[in-house]
Structure formats: structure tokens, C-alpha cells
Amino acid sequence: MMSASVARRTFATPVLLGLLLIAFALVAVAVGSKPFNQTIIDIFLKVIFVVGLWVFVGNSGVISFGHIAFACLGGYVAAWTTIKPMMKGMSMPGLPDWLMQTEIPYWGSAIVAAGWAALWALIFGSVLMRLSGIAASIATFAMLAMVNSIYSNWESVTAATSSVVGIPIIRSIWPYLVAALISVFAAWAYGISRHGLALRAARDEPTAAAACGINIPRARLIAFVISGAIMGMGGALYSHSIGIVTPDTYYLGLTFITLSMLVVGGMGSLSGAVLGVLILSTLIQTLRWLEAGVQVGETTIALPGGVQEIALGVVMILILMFRPAGIMGNKDLSLPKRAALETKGPKSPRT
């Protein structure tokens, strides 16, 4: 019964975050410009990635540098399952026959990708989750490097470093919105489940949690598999958003941008993960527009190229200076009255 009351108490969080995402989608529809639409799609994909990352990092407290590897696994599932068989034969001749003949819709590929990534998360996780602290972080990074090397060199199955083309491009915003909503609700549901609560207990007090009978590696493994699945789904959709897939898309660049969004937003809460993406993406986009030039009356004001990257760094430093636990800290978005109750409640440990 405990779980039900927690659910009631925290249900406002995913709903508010969901409404926020829907608002972004509606803005895109209202603006009606193709590049803006694509920008919002990109933001939703980042939401999926960062929420996926949060499920593990936020709840376990172990920073993972390797989650983008699951996005890579997912991205290639989209290539394997949705490209027309004839084109697949040309770029990836080494695929098994049954896979070569498979052609499923994009949502099917997203589901399969989630399953495939979850499977590998289970395999990797059963070993990695026994480690903790910095050792675990570096081990996840090793996993990323490994997946990247395999996908960059297995010519007949992944076309190595060449771009794989022919993935159907989905330019409609709704599938991405739905996927982002699914990830937010899944992350919330996991967070309040007994496994999620156990893992958070293990994060804050490992010794006490173990003494209470929590099997820490197992609790971490569950989070790792769920977050792997979310990343896999995101990876597949990422492929569908631009129509090509290459291994270096899913490597250090994406790893660091998603991690910084999570840290700036606040690792301690789901709202931090989502808001980190929304705020940083909005900032990046605004700076890009300024770089491209803004018409003010007769003159065009434009920032010099490259300012966006610098300004983003400065803003992130400032945010972390004043809010070391991220914008949201450990708090979640909730309705005002609930929030008041929450602060009086016993649990608000700062990490």
C-alpha cells in the first residue's frame, strides 16, 4: 500500500513534466517551420536519452559514461530492421537472411531496439554492477569504447564507419513526443517502485541498505536494464530522425552533452533530468540563432561562429557555481501544496 500512496503523492511530477513536453510540441506545431520542428524533435530525443541516463545515474549515484553505447545498439537495430531489404544487401551484406528480409515500421524498430539494448544491458550489467564508485564509471566507459570499436569495424554487419542510409525518416513530432512521455512515466514508475526506492537507499547509505537486506548489485542491474532499454529506444528514434546512422554519432559528443544536461539539471531528480535538457537545449538553440544573425531594424546582429560552444560552457559553470546540485537539486516538480508537505517530510537528503 506504501507504493500506492507514494504514487499518489508524486504523480504530479510526471504529469507536469509531460505537460511541459506537450507544450513544446504545441509550440512547434504553432510555429509550423520545418527546422524548428526538427529542433523540437532533437530536444525530445535528448529528453529520452537524459531520462534514460537518469534512471541509472540518478537512482544509483554511479556516473555512467557508457549509456550512449545502448543508443548505438538501438540506432543500428533501426538500420537492420527498417531499411528496404535490397538496400540492406548492398551496405550490410553480412546480416543473417531472416534479418535481411525483415522490414518493420519505425515504432516496431523502436520496441525491438529497446529489447536489444536491454538484453545487452543485462549481459554487461551482470558484471559491471558489482563494481562501485569510479571503477564502475570507468568500466561503463570501457563498454562504450568497446561497442564503438565493434560497430566501427564490423564491416559486413554495420557497414563499419560508413553512413548507413535508407532508414525511413520520420519528421512528424508526435512519435518522439510519445516516446519522451513513455520514458518520463517509465522513469517515474521505476523511481517509486520498491526497486527504485531500494536503489536510492543503497545510493545514500550503502552499508545500512545492505544490512536491511538490499542486494545492491541486483538493484543496480534492474536500473541498468531499464535505462538501457530507454536509451535503445531513443537510439532507434534518433536514426529515424535524420535517416542515417554511423557509429561516431553515438560516441563522446553525445555522451558528454547528455551527461552535462543531467548534471546541470540536477542528477537527484527526474525533473532535473528533463528540465536540464529543456533549458540547455533552449539556450543552445537561442545562441545558434544569434550566431546565424538576428535582424534588428536595418542591421543584422550576429555573434561570431563558435560563440555558442563557449557561452554554453560559461553558463554551465555559472549554474553549477550557484547550484552545485544542479538546477533542481533533489527536488521534483510538484503542485504547490504537495511541495509544502514534501519539505516537511522526513526525506530530503542532499547529496
Partner: protein
């Protein structure tokens, strides 16, 4: 949150799409203005702008002025897709995309799904066109395979090379393409033999093992086909020469330019195929005139031959638009596909409904002798490389 939304709403006003205008023709450049691809895109784009300025000065295209819209891909694939959509929204009649297939294809795919023609600035993979994007996509350059085939046939015929060694840097598709063309041509040359082959990686600091194997041959090969590109090419060439191997070195166009020659002093017996000469000795005086104009506009000489495809691109596209009497995609693509050995400043160009790329082209042969590069010959491979061989 409210502040966030107002910020968003405010920024969106800036992107209000320009409506397609009937009294002008718009060329959209979805190319890299920042990031490492900028070094490849900018020179070719400058050359394209020169051709556009020429057309506008002589009364425009179909009596309309050509206007240009730009969007930065930031050398990023996801941004590339957005850049493509941005120029399409701005009313582009033709979309120019980044030089490299990997970085240009997201924007080209966006153009393709919007039913617009697209041109890769200088991609040399067969995928940059029908095979990797769709029926309205073209590349302004020449296939890498033609470069390898040209060097093989030319050195066989003009330099009597009979024994070849093939050294491939497996880093990029471009490198593999050069060697594929070489592999296609070699069996067609009577009594030419491949005495050995090896691979290395662009980032390898030392290719000592590969060099030892060349040195172990009973006789030094007549020619080494070196399929590589910058930046690794310089170190490979330096090591080959330092080991005392004096065979001819045959290359793709990727090593054109004199900017790196000081790293290998007194380099000789070194051959590069180019579409036009940046050294001021092109057999066509118009190319030298173009080089002067390029210097006037950009303040510097062309640094490599990869400037030229940008000019060719606007040239052939504008001709097709002129002949079709419209910028409408099917008509323009049909006119482009009718081009058979269409003369351009940098050699004839052919497009067919099967291939939107050059599988045969006239190349100038640049020889570097005692550290001085200069045009010594020109060569067109005896027959086009069949598409089936290119797809391997």
C-alpha cells in the same frame, strides 16, 4: 517556466520562413561554416559564389537573379538535417550540401524528401547521388575510383610502369575508392602485375612494417599506388622516400596542393591527378583567369583542386535550368541527365539516369619534381568504370 516559454516564443519569430519568390531563384547552402568540414566546404562554396556572381552579372538565370541562403551544419549530422530543412523553408530551389557524403547526406536526404535537387559540393563516393540519397541528388566532383584508374592507366601507358605496389590507408571510403579504381583498371593492362599490396591507417605514426615488405621485394616496383589522404599522407610519403624507395608514387587528388611539400623536401617522381591546376600552368588559360578571380574575391590562391567542383556545380545546374526553362525538379534533373560530355572549365561532365557522378573524366597529371609541382600531362581513362564495379 513562463520565462522559458517566452524565450522560446521570442526566438521562433526569428525563423519565420521566407516565402518562395517568383522573381528570383534561390540556391540554399546547407554547408559547414564551423567545425572541421568548413575547411573543405568554404573554398568550394566560394568558387560556387563566383559562378553565381558571374551569372547574375550577365542578366541572371531565366531573367531572374540568383539569391543565396545559408545554414550552418556545424559539421554535425543532426544539425545537417536541420540546416537542410532551414534552406528548404527559406524557399531554396536547389540545395547544396557539405562536401563529404557522411556529413552532407542528412541535408541531401531532407532535400530529396522535399522533392528538391541537391548537389554535394565535392563528394567522391558513389553514394553521393542516386545510390545513397535518391534520384534528385548529384555530386559536383569526380568519383575517387576514376582517380585510381587514371593513375594506373596513365603510368602504364606514358611511363611504362609494369610492376605496381598497392598501399591502402583504410581510414576512409575515399581512400578505398581510389584503390578500387586501381583494382578495376590493373587487370585490363596487359602484362602489368601487382607485385604486392598492404594496408595501413592514416593515424599510424610509423609504416615501417609496410616499408620493410616493399624493400623485401626482389626488385623495387615501378610504381606505388598510394591510396590515402591528409593528414596521414605526408608522413607515409616521407617514410617511403626516407627508406630510399624511389618508385613513382601515384596518388588520388586528396594530396593536391603545395602547402605540405616543405615537409618532404625535394620530393620527386610524385604524381597527382587534378581537375584543374592551382599552380598557374593549366592548359586552359580560363582556369588561370579563374584562379586570379578567386584570389581577388577571397584574398588567397586556391589551396587545392577541391575549389573547382563548386564552380562546376553551379555551371551545370544553371545550364540545366536554362534548358528546362524552369527550376522545377523533374525538368532540371532530366536536363542534367541529358548532359553528355558537357564542356566545363574543368573538363567535360556527364550525368545519366543511372549515375549522377563522373565515372570517367579528364584529369590533368601534376608531377612534383624536386619539390616543384607542375602539370605534365592530361589523361582520360579509355572507358568509363561500369556502375556495377563501382558498387562493389
Amino acid at each position: 517556466m513562463k520565462r522559458l516559454m517566452t524565450a522560446l516564443a521570442a526566438t521562433t519569430c526569428l525563423t519565420a520562413p521566407a516565402l518562395a519568390d517568383d522573381d528570383k531563384i534561390i540556391v540554399g547552402f546547407a554547408t559547414a561554416e564551423t567545425g572541421f568540414m568548413q575547411a573543405y566546404d568554404k573554398p568550394a562554396q566560394d568558387a560556387a559564389m563566383i559562378r553565381i556572381a558571374e551569372i547574375n552579372a550577365s542578366g541572371g538565370l531565366l531573367g531572374k537573379q540568383i539569391e543565396v541562403v545559408n545554414a550552418d551544419t556545424k559539421t554535425d549530422r543532426a544539425e545537417g538535417a536541420k540546416a537542410g530543412l532551414t534552406v528548404i523553408d527559406a524557399g531554396a530551389d536547389m540545395v547544396v550540401v557539405s562536401c563529404d557524403y557522411d556529413f552532407g547526406s542528412p541535408a541531401a536526404l531532407a532535400a530529396e524528401s522535399a522533392g528538391l535537387p541537391s548537389f554535394f559540393l565535392c563528394a567522391e563516393s558513389i553514394k553521393a547521388g542516386i545510390q545513397g540519397v535518391g534520384p534528385n541528388s548529384f555530386s559536383a566532383s569526380v568519383l575517387a575510383a576514376v582517380q585510381g584508374a587514371t593513375m594506373a592507366e596513365w603510368s602504364y601507358t606514358k611511363k611504362e610502369a609494369r610492376t605496381f605496389y598497392r598501399l591502402l590507408d583504410t581510414w576512409t571510403e575515399y581512400n578505398k575508392g581510389i584503390c578500387d579504381g586501381f583494382d578495376y583498371m590493373l587487370p585490363k593492362l596487359a602484362d602489368a602485375t601487382l607485385v604486392g599490396e598492404d594496408t595501413f591507417l592514416n593515424e599510424d605514426a610509423s609504416i615501417a612494417a609496410q616499408i620493410t615488405r616493399i624493400k623485401a621485394l626482389p626488385e623495387e616496383p615501378d610504381a606505388i599506388m598510394l591510396c590515402t589522404m591528409m593528414p596521414g599522407a605526408v608522413s607515409a610519403i616521407k617514410q617511403i622516400r626516407a627508406a630510399g624507395i624511389n618508385s613513382m608514387i601515384l596518388n588520388g587528388s586528396g594530396v593536391d596542393g603545395s602547402y605540405w611539400l616543405s615537409a618532404v623536401p625535394d620530393l620527386s617522381n610524385f604524381f597527382v591527378p587534378v581537375q584543374g591546376s592551382i599552380y598557374g600552368d593549366d592548359p586552359n588559360p580560363d582556369v588561370t583567369a579563374f584562379n586570379a578571380k578567386y584570389k581577388e574575391v577571397t584574398g588567397g590562391d586556391p589551396s587545392t583542386q577541391y575549389v573547382y567542383p563548386g564552380y562546376v556545380m553551379i555551371d551545370v545546374w544553371a545550364k540545366a535550368v536554362e534548358r528546362a526553362g524552369t527550376t522545377e525538379t523533374t525538368a532540371v534533373v532530366a536536363e542534367l541527365e541529358k548532359m553528355n560530355a558537357e564542356p566545363t572549365l574543368f573538363g567535360p561532365r556527364t550525368f545519366t539516369s543511372e549515375l549522377h557522378h563522373q565515372n570517367q573524366a579528364r584529369y590533368l597529371i601534376v608531377e612534383t619534381n624536386a619539390g616543384k609541382p607542375g602539370v605534365v600531362d592530361e589523361w582520360t581513362i579509355s572507358e568509363p568504370i561500369p556502375v556495377a564495379d563501382l558498387m562493389k
